[in-house]
């Protein structure tokens, strides 16, 4: 069950040109957290910005009660968040959402992340490695400096492949290009993906005729984070007049099966 609480900021540091690492002490939240869930964060203390910001959980530690969020500064909310200092209290709600469904883990697993969207996959990778699963990790970024946790991933027993759109490291191009290449040579049963919506859309034709269970973590402009306001919806296929109904990204998701969502409608 999610809670609203005042967490303590243990660190809030810049890790590259645009991204920050926020470390919080939130034991009550960590107790309940699963990979793929998020916190709804009051970035400042006043009326600006008015709304909370949904920020994915990057990693968490059950023993210490610490939780890490990686975020990219690109708006008023994250700009204000970047100015918060360690030692301060911050109002957070969480953990929210369903996270990744790990009840039916398969043999050949791929974890795929693009840009800041790769951040929430770290907790999932930790979980899968802990379960001694064979995991291939594909991550993409604009440039080498923006690749998340490369050094940490290199230390883990995972098959790591990277892509940079400027070609500065690894596969030159989008991570979806790397995905297409990978699927030509290897078979997978299950893919967990998180990244910008265009990346998720670009995945569709690549995985379309393959027998792979694909789970996507979505993002949408969000209001309440409780499932009440119906702002952050996505289309899910159903048999009705319209052929779809809207589901809530915050509490029905943020993870959905690729074959149930309509991304580009």
């Amino acid at each position: 069950m999610p809670v609203q609480m005042k967490g303590k900021i243990l660190a809030n540091k810049k890790i590259n040109a645009t991204d920050y690492k926020l470390v919080l002490s939130v034991p009550e939240i960590v107790e309940e957290t699963n990979p793929g869930q998020f916190l709804h964060v009051k970035c400042g203390t006043g009326l600006e910005p008015l709304l909370r910001r949904p920020l994915s959980v990057h990693r968490y530690n059950d023993e210490t009660g610490e939780l890490v969020i990686l975020y990219r500064v690109f708006g008023k909310g994250t700009e204000i968040l970047a100015k918060r200092q360690s030692g301060e209290e911050i109002d957070v709600m969480g953990p929210i959402g369903n996270g990744f469904d790990l009840n039916n883990l398969k043999e050949k697993i791929m974890v795929l992340g693009g840009g800041i969207g790769a951040a929430p996959l770290m907790a999932l990778i930790d979980e899968l490695v802990g379960l001694e699963k064979e995991v291939t990790v594909l991550i993409g970024a604009n440039q080498k400096e923006e690749l998340f946790c490369q050094s940490r991933l290199e230390e883990l027993p995972v098959n790591l492949k990277v892509a940079t759109t400027d070609g500065s490291y690894g596969y030159p191009g989008y991570v979806t290009g790397l995905l297409a290449e990978e699927l030509e040579t290897s078979d997978y049963d299950q893919i967990f993906a998180c990244g910008p919506t265009p990346m998720l859309i670009a995945m569709e034709p690549i995985i379309a005729d393959k027998d792979i269970e694909v789970q996507l973590s979505l993002e949408e402009r969000m209001g309440c984070g409780t499932g009440a306001c119906l702002s952050c919806v996505c289309k899910v296929k159903v048999e009705n007049e319209e052929g779809f109904e809207y589901k809530k990204v915050c509490t029905d998701g943020p993870v959905f099966k690729a074959d149930e969502v309509i991304l580009n409608g």
Binding site: M1, P2, V3, Q4, K42, L47, E48, P49, L50, L51, R52, K76, D91, M93, E220, R221, M222, G223, C224, G225, T226, G227, A228, C229, L230, S231, C232, V233, C234, E242, F244, E245, Y246, T251
Partner: protein
């Protein structure tokens, strides 16, 4: 603080305290059960309900503005039958009063909604939404034309003994004209205000942010408008008012009470601080004790001179 009386009685609608949650911001109540002791709320004005299920508008449905939120949800809801059969049984045992916000395209649809809800167990009152800015037909049109507003209220009134609340739109030249028309038509209570129509354009894409182009503005940015309208309507009608519009804390609640509202509803603030209603109830009680009041009703309308 046991001797402080927070009860209010609004023309047939009795509440354990004057703090409610506004339609569209609190789902059907249970969405907030992890954050709020729902049993302490005076009332929950549930998500706008229509005859048939409504899918709602495409996204983006929400945009942030200085001190405000623009939304264009488009009345997404599961329809009145689902509400009565599935949702109502889950919420009717809470201590809060369930107030069902109803929306139709025609007076006939309002009548049909009323007839169905009149027979349902656990409905304390109906809130007649004649002011939704985000649907193409009905909604707002009913709320800006006094005769049409009255016709909807009459259609509801004729088909129920439940207290009727009529929710007014601020998007009119003279809100007292509409208020007087719905009072005349038999509404028991007036709630105000619904959202102000607004718009935001993304200067990067050079296009409106909301898929619906326009949306309803809520949040603290609209509070002065709401307070003014409550104050004006309080002077022009004799029925109780439920004030809403940008209430963020107990100070704002007191402002609405002074303006002439007998009860209030918290809306957008639930998104920002999900526990805000509990804080408000505690602080309101403290304020009354500190200032020597026995009952919250003593504050109502004190701002009029």
């Amino acid at each position: 603080m046991d001797n402080i009386n927070l009860n209010v009685e609004l023309n047939g609608l009795e509440l354990q305290n004057p703090i409610m949650t506004a339609s569209g911001t609190f789902g059907f109540g249970e969405e907030y059960k992890d954050y709020v002791d729902l049993n302490r709320l005076g009332g929950v004005m549930v998500k706008g309900t229509t005859i048939k299920p409504k899918a709602g508008n495409p996204t983006p449905r929400i945009a942030e503005t200085p001190g405000g939120v623009l939304n264009a949800i488009g009345l997404q809801n599961p329809g009145v039958d689902h509400f009565i059969n599935v949702i109502l049984p889950k919420i009717r045992d809470y201590n809060f009063k369930t107030i069902v916000n109803i929306s139709g395209n025609t007076a006939e649809e309002y009548k049909e909604l009323t007839t169905k809800l009149n027979e349902a167990e656990g409905v304390a009152a109906l809130e007649v939404n004649i002011s939704c800015p985000n649907v193409k037909k009905g909604g707002l049109a009913f709320g800006t034309e006094p005769k049409m507003a009255a016709s909807v209220v009459e259609a509801v009134k004729e088909n129920t003994d439940l207290p009727i609340i009529t929710k007014l739109s601020p998007n009119v030249t003279d809100i007292t004209e509409i208020a007087e028309a719905v009072e005349e038509a038999g509404t028991d209570i007036i709630s105000l205000i619904n959202t102000l129509i607004g718009m935001k354009i993304d200067i990067e894409t050079q296009q409106p942010i909301l898929a619906n182009t326009i949306g309803g503005l809520s949040g603290p940015a609209i509070r002065p408008v709401a307070v003014r309208m409550v104050y004006q309507v309080a002077q022009s009608v004799d029925i109780p008012l439920i004030g809403m519009g940008g209430i963020m804390n107990s100070r704002d609640v007191i402002e609405f009470l002074l303006a002439g509202a007998s009860a209030i509803a918290v809306g957008t603030a639930n998104f920002i601080n999900p526990g805000v209603t509990m804080e408000i109830i505690d602080e309101l009680e403290e304020y009354l004790v500190e200032n020597g009041y026995d009952s919250v009703q003593e504050l109502v309308g004190l701002g009029h001179r």
